[in-house]
């Protein structure tokens, strides 16, 4: 067991953390499965609008690797296949009706321990839950033909207003263990689980993993940061990673023999009337989850957290990998002499606003950029929010000049856009580090 005390990083003090109580969603009218949630994946459709589906029916497959299946989390009829620019399929919307489920084989713990690696892979692929397993580098669905150096599970919650693992997985310890037993079959390497002092108790009974303890501000909970400290990813290597809630979902599939679609989400953010956890269906419609009235120009609805989540709205759906919804105020317009304000209510990492004198006061910032794009300023602050031995500015400059070799040398494989999200947040030059990293990942994928 490794103990990692990270000093670098920053917890943005935000209003709107979810109360520790779970409510049941009053109604589920529609859900969606969104191909755009899966980086670089192009779907091959298996349903058409009007088709009736059961919970667990195949909606689409990965066109390049048709073994990877995407199953419906609810029974109902396919309302629409939404296409965006260049006819890219964005989401498959299903109108939910009375529940009926496809039936699969179920497995006990002892049966799982006797499985071969090939069979374990086959079961997971067939379950429709394989997409939950992602790989580094490149943050896309894991390539089942490759064998990873290790599998990482992050049980550390550090993102702003992050849903707490023990709330999401309350009472699902057995499913979690079953899922971990299956994951152990998938790799010849180690199965790493990181916990924090908060989640340690919840994971204490889990066996078959190497446990590590992480402490420190965000992004300590990011799996990329944990990989960097536990077993760095080098050129040519592959690591798989998966969230604890997906592991529990796999366990539930194995024990019940049905596609498990019930999920707990955290409803957070300063613009909600009340913040709490809600038990709903995977891919739920935002307006089913939230009873605060939402207007597009008043509130920003984010599937995920404020740093890395996707913008959506009341008529949108929660993403596959997301376990929370954040609602924050939209930008209200131009502010007079914003740059000389004293900043009692400013949300800032820098010691340039009076709000720094009361660091415990939580703020409710809007979606204002608070400035315009400028050239990089190497103040040394970016390094303070990136707990990795990576030079963020130099890496980004290498990406911008498209120097493939230098990108590789400076650690493009070790980072994902989410790991540098705080760099974008604190940047006085308003540089989009995430977009630049994404650009670098695309360049490397093309090269590979």
């Amino acid at each position: 067991m490794g103990v990692f005390k990270l000093k670098k990083g920053y917890d943005i003090p935000l209003q709107g953390v979810a109360d520790r109580r779970v409510e049941k969603v009053p109604k589920t009218t529609a859900i969606a499965v969104q191909p755009i949630d899966f980086r670089g994946m192009r779907p091959g459709m298996r349903v058409e609008p009007g088709d009736t589906v059961k919970r667990g029916s195949i909606l689409f497959v990965d066109k390049q690797r048709p073994e990877i299946l995407f199953r419906s989390p609810a029974a109902g009829s396919v309302r629409e296949i939404v296409r965006g620019e260049r006819r890219v399929i964005q989401r498959v919307i299903i109108d939910v009706s009375a529940d009926s489920a496809e039936v699969f084989d179920s497995y006990s713990r002892s049966q799982i321990t006797e499985l071969s690696q090939a069979k374990a892979k086959e079961i997971l692929l067939h379950s429709g839950l394989w997409p939950a397993m992602r790989q580094r580098p490149f943050c896309k669905i894991a390539d089942f033909d490759k064998s990873p150096k290790a599998i990482f599970i992050s049980g550390v919650d550090s993102a702003p207003l992050q849903a707490e693992t023990d709330m999401l997985l309350e009472g699902r310890e057995q499913d979690l263990q079953l899922g971990i037993d299956l994951l152990a079959k998938l790799t010849d390497g180690k199965l790493h689980l990181s916990v924090s002092s908060k989640t340690e108790a919840f994971f204490s009974k889990i066996t078959g993993v190497e446990t590590h303890q992480f402490s420190g501000p965000h992004p300590a909970g990011n799996v990329g940061v944990q990989i960097h400290h536990i077993d760095r990813l080098l050129a040519g290597e592959i690591i798989w990673y998966i969230s604890p809630r997906h592991v529990a979902q796999i366990g539930s599939f194995l024990s019940k023999g049905e596609y498990p679609a019930s999920k707990t989400y955290a409803l957070t953010g300063s613009e909600l009337d009340n913040q709490h956890y809600i038990q709903a269906t995977e891919g739920a419609l935002v307006s089913d989850l939230v009873n605060t009235p939402l207007a597009v120009n008043k509130q920003r609805v984010i599937s995920g957290n404020v740093l890395t989540g996707q913008q959506t709205n009341a008529a949108g759906y929660i993403g596959f990998y997301d376990d929370m919804l954040t609602v924050i105020p939209e930008l209200t317009g131009r502010r007079f002499m914003g740059w000389v304000q004293l900043g009692f209510k400013a949300s800032s990492f820098w010691r340039m606003f009076l709000s720094k004198l009361t660091p415990r006061n939580k703020q409710a910032p809007t979606t204002d950029m608070n400035g315009e794009e400028r050239a990089f300023v190497s103040t040394g602050e970016y390094e303070k929010v990136l707990p990795m031995d990576v030079l963020p500015v130099h890496l980004c400059k290498a990406i911008l000049v498209e120097d493939i070799e230098l990108m590789e040398q400076l650690g493009i494989y070790e980072v994902a856009p989410e790991d540098l999200a705080l760099c974008s947040y604190i940047c006085p030059s308003k540089i989009e580090f995430g977009d630049i990293i994404e650009q670098g990942m695309l360049a490397m994928e093309k090269e590979a």
Binding site: R351, M352, G371, A375, D389, A421, Y425
Partner: protein, 379 residues
């Protein structure tokens, strides 16, 4: 307020095209200074830090206020003006035209290049435009200021691609230009006191000319450690008062605008080198080699450079380890120039420019070390 905002928004539309487009960069700067740009995030992170370049640079200017105040007073006091306010006004009215010319000429160039490159006037110039006047003697001819600012802005910055891309500190580039083209107006004994025909050597010149102990020479010329610390000696407007500069340094460090690594490294480099030089010196040698190390820190442009010039994030080393090397290099160089180069009793400007030139190389080594650690991982 709403009226003004509407007016600016309309103006923005009008100036985006048509014959007055050349004024758009200047307008853009004023526009976003009066009201925040009002751009929202489109991707994650959906919220952004309240900091922007305007506040960043604004704090540097704020930190310069003590130097401007004390420096102005000192210009008056050196010229023999009696009374606190009268002396300040005398000096301020000497300084103001230099600042006005610097801004007018500099912003003119920024506007032209902003128009060519299609961006607004960037905030960096606000700082350059106040730093340069503070490094000049109060008697500098204004036309020379105009020429120097043009050189500093165009050759020092714009040819590299504008703010953020420049290799050298633009304010120091402009000053160096003056120093080498019109040495008679920026060095020697005749330029520091704003009275015609009145000469007054700077403490550095006095120390350099000392036949024996530099401290004795300083004392006999009326320069004590005290009045050099408080800044009542001849010199460039902003550089004389160490205490005013230190107040500025505190502001820069508390807000995190300037790198404490660079400041500390420069200080340590200079102090260490000065100790070494003095150890091998002695009164028999005379001049600068007899000067105790702490005297160097309060004399000439050292402190002003160490606080406001070395820490320019664009021309300094960008890596944290590199900042140490960069600061120490400058600190060591300034002492070497002051002590061993009889032509220039002041070495700070050249030492910083020297450091600027070397900062990419220093960063290169730090980056290579990072690459090497990655390659050697797990071996």
């Amino acid at each position: 307020m709403k009226f003004l905002e509407r007016f600016l928004n309309n103006m923005d539309k009008t100036l985006s095209q048509g014959p007055f487009k050349v004024f758009h960069p200047l307008f853009g700067a004023i526009n976003t200074m009066l009201f925040t740009p009002g751009h929202g995030t489109t991707t994650g992170p959906h919220i952004r830090d309240a900091i922007d370049m305007k506040r960043f640079m604004g704090i540097v200017i704020f930190a310069l206020i003590p130097s401007i105040m004390v420096g102005s007073y000192n210009v008056g006091a050196q010229a023999g003006v009696e009374g606190l306010f009268a002396a300040f006004m005398f000096g301020f009215l000497k300084l103001l035209p230099i600042i006005v010319v610097t801004y007018a000429v500099g912003l003119g160039w920024e506007m032209i290049f902003g128009h060519i490159n299609g961006h607004d006037i960037h905030e960096g110039f606000l700082v350059t435009g106040i730093l340069l006047p503070l490094t000049l003697p109060p008697t500098i001819p204004l036309w020379q200021v105009a020429v120097a600012v043009s050189f500093g802005t165009v050759i020092g910055k714009e040819v590299f691609g504008g703010t953020g891309m420049n290799l050298l500190n633009p304010a120091l580039t402009a000053r160096a230009f003056l120093f080498f083209t019109y040495p008679g107006n920026i060095s020697g004994d005749g330029v520091w006191v704003a009275l015609d025909g009145f000469t007054g050597a700077t403490p550095l010149a006095a120390a350099a000319a000392a036949p024996g102990s530099a401290v004795a020479a300083l004392n006999s010329a009326g320069f004590t450690l005290n009045n050099m610390f408080f800044g009542f000696t001849p010199g460039s407007v902003g550089e004389t008062s160490t205490i005013a500069i230190l107040i500025g340094a505190a502001i820069l460090l508390i807000t995190g605008v300037a790198s404490w690594r660079i400041m500390l490294a420069t200080l340590l480099g200079a102090y260490g080198m000065a100790l070494i030089v003095q150890y091998f010196g002695g009164d028999a040698v005379g001049g600068m080699r007899t000067l105790p190390a702490h005297y160097h820190l309060v004399m000439g442009g050292f402190m002003f450079g160490a606080v406001f010039m070395t820490t320019d994030p664009v021309s300094a080393a960008g890596t944290n380890a590199g900042k140490w090397a960069y600061g120490i290099l400058i600190g060591v160089m300034v002492i070497l120039i002051r002590v061993f180069n009889p032509a220039y009793p002041e070495g700070m400007m050249l030492a910083i420019l020297f450091g600027n030139v070397f900062s990419p190389l220093i960063d290169h080594f730090v980056v290579q070390a990072n690459i090497k650690r990655r390659l050697n991982y797990g071996k």
